[in-house]
Amino acid sequence: MTLTIANLSAGYGRTTVLHDVTVTDIPPGAFVGLIGPNAAGKSTLFKTIAGLITPSQGTLTIAGEDVTHLGRKDRAKRVAYMPQAYGCNALLSVFESVLLALKQTTGWRVNDDNLDRVSDTLHALGLSHLANRGVADLSGGQAQMVAVAQTIVRAPDVILLDEPTSALDLHHQLSILTSIRNEMDRKKPVVMAALHDLNLAAKFCDRLVLLREGAILADGKPEHILALPQIEETYRVLTDLERTQRNVLYVDARLA
């Protein structure tokens, strides 16, 4: 299911945050990293794609179908959005919290297929041992992984992850992104993730989109984008792009 964002402008009230954003032809199974400094409009772009903000202009198409004005629930069937992590004090188990995410877009009754999907998703993300734990008892990192599970379980066409690794240690950063990649190989959704760590972005993404002040500065393969002078400008740092001995891209940054 190809995702295309064309000439999108959106904002809050009278403030326009996104200015004429265009990202064309993101193919199924593509992992797009959205990079850019704080307050670049990454979350706003995600909220607009997820239908939480109505754009003032522009269109969104999934597999050739215009979904710009698709209702809240129909949109949620096709686009799953994980907001930045928030704590919660609900008396629900991890299993239940993933089940409830799935049940928003499937019928009222819980059937066998629903239960299979929840347990498979938890297993795929390495969260099975937390299934009976209360969501309020989770650590920040665990809660973030459960939030990813809540997004993936719905098997949508488009998955939007707002800083999925911000609360995770190194092991879990790698493990969650690897699990997402594995899921993508199976179900071929489009995944867009806002990432602050450029090295993680280089390692996992097929394509990077650089956003600054609500406008797109660059869009392309990681090795091209990370070598651009705009990276230094946008992040206000000096960078060196290297290839390690194992041919992995490495961004070395220091203050200008």
Binding site: K77, F95, L100, T105, W108
Partner: protein, 353 residues
């Protein structure tokens, strides 16, 4: 991470947990039936359970006197206790969910205060909001004021799109406003009228009637299926508003629907029996400790626990001093609160069942 569990096992755990919950619900229902039966057999006269049962089956089997006692007095009181307990607890449960605050209930949000003011307006000035309601004047006034208060909170959220914290602040402001107005009414009232206002506010089940019961039952028969229908968005709301919205929940619409439902439930319950605090708080709280917050089990069990609490209150109000029926508002607070606190303290931490 190393302790990976088989997917079939976690699935099995969930299914087992669900069946345990049905067990808990059945047990509470059993207790409720028991309390209800005790409630109708307890009272002056000391009739046995079998005598009462015979009158229930055949009203005239033990003469007209016993028919009046059972059918016109004890049964309406016992049914009203169950019904109002359920109404208050469901209203409390839904308020707590949409406001994300375990302290929300009709009493804390000023609904009871508004109803008391409406009642006092009828008692002191004989003023009716809806003309020509006759003997139902006090009840109707209380209902209209309670409903308007909920409507006001609703309107405020709708107009400003305010969050749950602002809604609670609104509720507190309403509570103090109506308390002041109530004090003003009492200042203007005669001694006899003050006595009536105070008695109304204490809460009593003796205002029970079959008409009220019919009305309350119809309401409950809409409210519980409706909240079951909205069970998944409501459960999602427990994950936080931002998360629920990202899952496709139309938060604005859900809030409005639920506030309308809560308004009707709370206004009805309060206008029927007066101020009964605490049931709307304790019903959902105990239900949450027993089955967690999956609304499919949480809402029906809240209703049952609320019903059980008020039914037991009715029983206790008759048995403390034989021949005297204490106002239920006093009993729920005096006896209920220490029990409630001991429950909170004994289960140091809320755990999932």
């Amino acid at each position: 991470m190393t302790l990976e569990v088989d997917p079939a096992a976690i699935r099995h755990d969930y299914v087992a947990r669900v069946s345990r919950r049905y067990g808990v619900i059945a047990a509470v229902f059993g207790l409720l039936c028991l309390s209800f039966l005790l409630d109708i057999t307890t009272g002056p006269g000391g009739y046995s359970l079998s005598t009462i049962a015979e009158v229930l089956v055949d009203p005239m089997s033990h003469g007209a006197r016993l028919k009046v006692i059972v059918w016109d007095y004890r049964l309406p009181v016992a049914v009203t206790a169950v019904l109002v307990g359920a109404l208050l607890a469901v209203a409390g449960a839904q308020m707590q969910t949409i406001l994300n605050n375990p302290l929300a209930e009709p009493f804390t949000l000023g609904v009871s205060a508004a109803a008391s003011f409406g009642a006092s307006l009828a008692i002191v000035l004989g003023f009716s909001v809806i003309p020509a309601v006759g003997p139902l004047l006090v009840t109707v006034n209380a209902f209209v004021f309670a409903l308007c208060t909920c409507g006001f909170i609703l309107l405020a959220t709708r107009l400003k799109g305010v969050g749950s914290e602002t809604m609670i602040l609104f509720g507190i402001a309403i509570f103090f406003t109506f308390s002041a107005l109530l004090a003003l009414m009492q200042y203007m009232a005669s001694e006899d009228q003050i006595a009536r206002i105070v008695f109304w506010m204490m809460g009593s089940l003796s205002r029970a009637s079959w008409e009220k019961i019919g009305l309350g039952t119809i309401l409950l028969c809409f409210a519980i299926p409706f909240s079951l229908y909205r069970t998944w968005p409501m459960t999602a709301l427990r994950m936080g508003e931002a998360t629920a919205q990202s899952m496709g929940v139309d938060l604005g619409r859900l809030r409005v629907e639920m506030l309308i439902c809560i308004s009707l439930l709370a206004a009805t319950a309060v206008s029927f029996v007066g101020t009964v605090g605490f049931v709307g708080l304790v019903g959902p709280h105990i239900a949450r400790m027993l089955v967690g917050e999956d609304q499919r089990y949480f809402v029906p069990l809240s209703a049952m626990v609320g019903a059980l609490v008020l039914s037991l209150t009715s029983l206790i109000s008759k048995t403390i001093t034989p021949g005297i029926i204490y106002p239920i508002g006093i009993i729920t607070s005096l006896i209920g609160v220490p029990i409630f606190i001991s429950i909170i303290l004994s289960s140091r931490r809320e755990r999932l069942q």
